[in-house]
């Protein structure tokens, strides 16, 4: 690089700053700022910490409603008794050592005045707001499926008490019972999640209640890692039946009183019903005015800034991240890209074109893992898939075992990065 001739004024300015002739990075000279991050999951907690690490002078506040985060990845293992819920839980002590952590729900966003109001009455001003709020259930999305219905027919799609409720129901069910899982249309949190859950429940039934059966009623004809799941089910779980959309799998209403799931083609009575309902970006996104008619949040593929409101960024499940799935790995990768962009923007710089990775493991059985791994980058205003794919269909069992081990390693690594 050939330095352009420095004029006298620039020289004096640089000398005055004690910077000699070196091109100081903007972060060392620009104004710091105030960043509020709402949502302390794999996206938000990471984003808050990385912004602070990128520019320690930025005032970063992480707002999270719950003092303990309960992770969804691996919670299917809790449902079938392979794991304890405690293994899903993370606290904010280490995060709080780096950034300000406020345990309270965000209740309002003033996008013009640039403030976030919390349930505890605090009003936090921001220069940049990052929303990583996750999902809400669309309680108006499936007739009959109310919050009360979810106490009889758990969704278990937000880990915690719902996870334990489904576990207790499975444990209480007599051998010979029928378990039904309903899977929603796209998009929804964790695309392979319903099928990993079905696999592990089938594993549980096979080992503990072998006369029982499992039916998946699906609002889709295609799903994530489909070939791998169907192949594994055929080999391992003869009592698992997948009913696709075109075979009448779409559930149109539920009747929790008599544990019935209604489709266009008939009625299915369940002993245990796990209804995975339609979803949308969590409420705070709607309040901030960053959701579109789909209920999700359109974003710029370089900065994750909302396409609807300036100075508000959206990452993780709530965002419309093009080809990237709604996964913990995606949220974490997006968090770091967004952190770099926010730090750059606060100091007047131009964010770099990012490249992102997603890797999602699913357990078909405790020692049988499969994965999808892709790279992504911005193109034509969206995040596009740049290549990757799923585990090979003909992989040997040693490879499936290795992927199960890597899956466990991944959970420990991401937990350590985000909360450790």
């Amino acid at each position: 690089m050939i330095a352009k001739r420095t004029n006298r004024r620039e020289f004096l300015k640089a000398a005055a700053a004690g910077a000699a002739m070196l091109p100081l990075p903007a972060i060392a000279q620009g104004a710091a700022g105030r960043v509020v991050v709402v949502g302390g999951g794999f996206g938000g907690a990471s984003c808050a910490r990385f912004i602070k690490r990128l520019d320690p002078r930025v005032n970063v506040t992480l707002v999270e409603a719950n003092p303990t985060f309960i992770a969804c990845p691996f919670s299917n293992g809790v449902i079938v008794g392979l794991r304890d819920l405690k293994e899903q839980q993370f606290g904010y002590d280490k995060v709080g050592a780096e950034v300000t952590v406020t345990i309270s729900a965000g209740t309002a966003v003033d996008a013009q005045g640039r403030t976030v109001t919390l349930a505890n009455g605090t009003r936090l001003p921001y220069d940049r707001l990052v929303l990583s709020p996750g999902i809400d259930i669309r309680w108006d999305g499936l007739p009959g499926y109310t919050e009360a219905a979810a106490e009889r027919m758990p969704h278990a799609w937000k880990a915690g008490e719902q996870t334990l409720l489904l576990r207790r129901q499975l444990e209480a069910m007599a051998d010979g019972g029928t378990v039904i899982i309903t899977a929603p249309a796209n998009p929804f949190r964790c695309p392979p999640g319903p099928y990993e859950r079905a696999s592990l429940i089938a594993y549980y039934l096979k080992t503990k209640k072998p006369k029982s059966k499992l039916i998946i009623l699906d609002a889709k004809d295609a799903f994530s890692k489909q070939g791998l799941f169907l192949g594994a089910w055929k080999a391992l779980y003869p009592n698992l039946e997948w009913v696709s959309l075109s075979k009448g799998g779409k559930v149109t209403s539920v009747e929790p009183g008599d544990m019935t799931l209604v489709t266009e083609f008939g009625r299915h009575k369940a002993d245990v019903a796990n209804v995975i309902p339609p979803q949308k970006a969590a409420r705070i996104a709607e309040l901030a005015g960053v959701t579109d008619r789909s209920g999700w949040c359109p974003i710029d593929p370089v900065t994750f800034e909302s396409k609807l409101q300036q100075n508000i960024h959206v990452i993780g499940d709530a965002s419309i991240a093009g080809a990237m799935p709604k996964s913990a790995f995606s949220a974490n990768a997006q968090a770091k890209v967004c952190a770099a962009a926010v730090a750059k923007l606060l100091s007047g710089g131009k964010p770099d074109e990012p490249k992102l990775i997603n890797t999602c493991y699913s357990l078909v059985a405790p020692d049988y893992g499969i994965s999808v791994a892709n790279t992504y980058g911005p193109a034509d205003g969206q995040i596009k898939d740049l290549g990757g794919g799923v585990s090979p269909a003909d992989a040997p069992s040693a490879s499936r075992q290795a992927e199960a081990i890597f899956a466990n390693g991944w959970f420990k690594t991401i937990g350590a990065e985000v909360f450790g």
């Binding site: 770099d352 490249k355 790279t375 490879s399 690594t413």
Partner: protein, 101 residues
């Protein structure tokens, strides 16, 4: 530092912010920050996936080439390697190699 892919600004930021902040250096090359989703940044994480921090960049580049060509058996890295050009891999390897614990 003869790693051409690290921009002067990034190198300077490294000096200014110190090693502790280097893991989040502002000018991480595209894709680098995603790796730590599986490759532990810190020590003491119970995972069989190797750390990249402080590793010889040439080793990372060689491994990625072998993953991409299929010479090195892999579960996911063969698929991920296909999404990165040689220059991108070199930049990521140099960035991780320059980091210290």
């Amino acid at each position: 530092m003869n790693t051409t892919r690290i921009a002067p600004v990034g190198a300077l930021a490294f000096v200014l912010l110190g090693a502790a902040s280097a893991a989040a250096a502002a000018d991480a090359p595209p894709g680098a920050m995603s790796c730590s989703g599986c490759h532990p940044s810190g020590r003491g994480v119970d995972s069989t996936v190797p750390r990249l921090v402080g590793r010889n960049p040439a080793d990372i580049v060689t491994a990625m080439q072998a993953f991409k060509s299929g010479q090195l058996p892999a579960t996911v890295m063969d698929r991920i390697a296909k999404g990165f050009s040689e220059d991108e891999v070199k930049a990521i390897a140099a960035w991780y190699g320059a980091q210290k614990d």
